[in-house]
Symmetry: C2
Subunit: 187 residues, 2 copies
């Protein structure tokens, strides 16, 4: 951020009075511009014993497999956002969604909300952002070709819960250090 | 938003190619500025049979009672943010936090994450943003003087779960219509 989005003047980084962190503050109109984490909302669409994955047609991670997910929009709920992403990325209608996991990714200022639900009629087809979509049995999941650690973690938890026959709501930190190593802390 | 925060030129509202919603797009450098919901993170600090509330020293809802909560910051996890807010607003250290509720407030583009935990030593004192802090038994909760519907909903769920002797992770929409009427949808 270099310019004030309200008046167009330059901004400077300083700690406003009564605050504890540096913020971008307009030199002219003194508006404080806060930068906050973004919410990514997605779901695990389930059909019989299989789970729906999409192969990404966009960067980052072009060509790798992911769960349908994307940035939550203003004016929608997280569950509505997850349903919208499934429709956009996989022409998939997901019924009976419930909250499944909340994952912090503080190294990239994101927080993931994952739901699980039933893929209506088992039907899916690639949307604009997907090269292909496919239903996978657990033993078919392309673990080495998953796009993001949070997708792998969501799937690991899901299959583990399914074996136990009971689904929890999960909360974890999924972090990637400077050395590119992924650390997962489950609570 | 009137000006591009990258180059200072004017922005216009239009639907970018491949998108479905209008966004602020810079007329000069063509940067697309997405606006996304903000996360508010907070907690229910519990001490023996009592819950900690803070009386707000700031607008909105100056003088009304609330749970410690505030905007999640970049670089932190939602739980770390809830702990930070309890410390800032009530000099309270909250141990053993667990996720308790996720509440959508789409009418104001916010999503609340509520945790519950144990107030260490039962100690609290008003921070900069609080007029006073106090521990309340259920029958003492100032229901008519609570700052926000999401705070009332969190407390209702908490006392209900406590009576049952088992705590779920809750997910709900807490909406306020144009007529100012609050609608709560629990899933």
């Amino acid at each position: 951020m270099k310019y004030c989005s309200h008046c167009g003047a330059g901004v400077e980084l300083c700690i406003p009075e009564g605050d504890t962190l540096p913020r971008f503050v307009c030199k002219q109109c003194h508006t404080i511009h806060y930068l906050n984490p973004k919410v990514v909302t997605g779901c695990i669409p389930v059909w019989e014993d299989k789970v729906l994955l999409c192969r990404r047609a966009i960067e980052p991670r072009y060509g790798l497999w992911t769960l349908p997910a994307g940035f939550m929009e203003n004016g929608e709920t997280s569950m509505a956002g997850a349903a919208r992403e499934a429709l956009e990325e996989a022409h998939a209608v997901v019924d009976d969604m419930v909250l499944y996991g909340l994952f912090n990714l503080p190294h990239i200022d994101q927080i993931y909300m994952m739901f699980r639900g039933n893929l209506r009629h088992g039907h899916a087809a690639p949307g604009m952002e997907s090269l292909e979509v496919n239903l996978f049995y657990e033993q078919e999941i392309p673990w080495q070709e998953l796009a993001f650690p949070v997708v792998a973690e969501s799937l690991r938890l899901f299959f583990s819960d399914r074996r136990k026959g009971s689904y929890a709501v999960h909360y974890a930190d999924v972090m990637r250090g400077a050395d590119n190593e992924v650390t997962i802390t489950r609570y």
